[in-house]
């Protein structure tokens, strides 16, 4: 069992309250996922000649300043950064590939949790409330956010096995369910060059989407293909730079409920997680249909 929550703001006036609105949603799903929790928040966009990386090192006292200085020296580019617990967000004036290669080569002990213009992924082992407090979720601002609370069933309880999983530039995935063909699919994707950190089935779903998108699929095409190639149970929420998408498998055993008002669109595994949202009593509340892609995107 796991919990999924997502909140997409239609009303930009609420962006300063995104974390405050979302934090109780994540915590409400603690019973579905007390092992670990995480979220991907979108906002604070960097210019197109910059890349934003979310970097993690287990040591909270890690010398991030040294990384920034080294980036500036070696690459002669502008670097801005800030630390949040054991994670740092770096905004680097370089292409994604160049910046990631530099980190991988010179700082192999650093894990890159996300890359893009907008996305920041933060996740950790522990109760959702603990994770929300650790990263000061309540005070975060942004346009949209998706989160996950994990109750591990198939693989170890580790930060690496927790969600969201990055699936490419400004893309990420959270999953509730279990895939039955993940071992075979992992082998096939490895042959195609996709790298995996864990034995986790959800990471395979993330790797699958990454691969399809790299092959030129649009997000809708990649999700359509996922319905054919992924065997098992899933409710997915996929975060994109401009919004999010929701997809349930054709059997639709794993729950999902959505709500929409003039101000927001929200998804959760259970209605309980939506009940703290303003105006929810008068919101349109419905259950997403099986094997149907729901997507919300703001115009840029």
């Amino acid at each position: 069992m796991c919990g999924i929550v997502g909140l997409y703001l239609k009303n930009p006036a609420l962006e300063s309250q995104l974390g405050e609105l979302f934090s109780p949603m994540l915590i409400a799903m603690s019973e579905r996922g007390p092992d670990s929790a995480g979220f991907a928040i979108y906002g604070d966009e960097v210019n197109n000649d910059f890349i934003k990386l979310t970097l993690r090192h287990p040591n909270e006292c890690y010398d991030w300043e040294a990384v920034a200085t080294s980036l500036k020296l070696h690459m002669d580019v502008a670097v801005d950064w800030f630390q949040n617990s054991n994670v740092s967000v770096f905004k680097i004036q370089a292409s994604a590939a160049v910046a990631q290669q530099f980190i991988d080569k010179h700082y192999p002990e650093i894990l890159i949790l996300s890359a893009g213009q907008s996305i920041e992924i933060l996740k950790e082992v522990g109760l959702p409330e603990h994770i929300a407090n650790t990263f000061n979720l309540k005070n975060m601002k942004g346009s949209h956010i998706i989160g996950h609370t994990r109750m591990a069933t198939e693989s170890a309880v580790t930060m690496e096995g927790s969600h969201p999983f990055s699936t490419g530039m400004d893309l990420c995935l959270v999953h509730n369910g279990s895939l039955s063909n993940h071992n075979r699919l992992r082998q096939e994707l490895k042959r195609e060059g996709v790298k995996f950190e864990t034995d986790n089935d959800s990471e395979v779903a993330a790797g699958y989407l990454t691969h399809r998108l790299q092959q030129g699929d649009s997000l809708n095409e990649a999700l359509d293909n996922a319905l054919k190639d992924l065997d098992g149970f899933f409710t997915f929420t996929i975060g994109t730079r401009n919004g999010f998408a929701v997809l349930r498998d054709p059997i639709a055993c794993k729950p999902a409920v959505m709500a929409e008002t003039d101000d927001y669109v929200a998804i959760a595994s259970e209605y309980q997680a939506l009940s703290s949202l303003p105006g929810i009593d008068n919101a349109r509340v419905w259950e997403p249909e099986p094997a149907t892609i729901y997507a919300w995107e703001r115009n840029t």
Partner: protein
Amino acid sequence: MKIINLEIQAVRDLNQALHDQSIKCNEREWEVLCPKGQHNIACGLDQSLTIDIKGHAGYYCAGMNKKAHITVHGNVGQGVAENMMSGTVRVKGDASQAAGATAHGGLLVVEGNAGARCGISMKGVDIVVKGNVGHMSCFMGQAGSLVVCGDAGDALGDSLYETHIYVKGEVKSLGADCIKKEMRDEHISELTELLNRAGVDENPTEFKRYGSARQLYNFKVDNASAY
């Protein structure tokens, strides 16, 4: 009338207070405020009570109900009125999957839509849905009736036993061993009574009847070579 606010009191306390009524009934009318999608509200009742739940309820609302009349003024999560024995459960909004699962008796009315597997393995309950039902509804239904005033999803009545199914709208597909059947006078009477009990204003002659072809009841010797 007794009012219980679930922002102040726990669901466990509510259910205990309702269960106590089966021993000595001193309050017939109850109102439950601020359910906020919590699970297991008004489960396992065994007394002729009237309960109004003012808002959306979570999973297994009114499960295992006996005798009580429960109205949810909102939506419900999965498994509403699961294993109900008698009484009435009315959902003013939508119901998630497995509404009325395995229920033996009583009446479940969903005024909105019901999700997948509505009436799965039902054993005698009557279910009336004013809107649509999702896929695999009435799967392995054994007894009772399912009335759908809207459309039915894929694989309606798969592996059906003796549940009577009436659908007014479109059926996306029928499940294994489920077939369309003739609507005879006794079925019009049965459906008329079900619609009246549910308080639903529909014309019974506009419905079609579906039932079991009874081809899966027994092992067929013709299939022996497959083993």
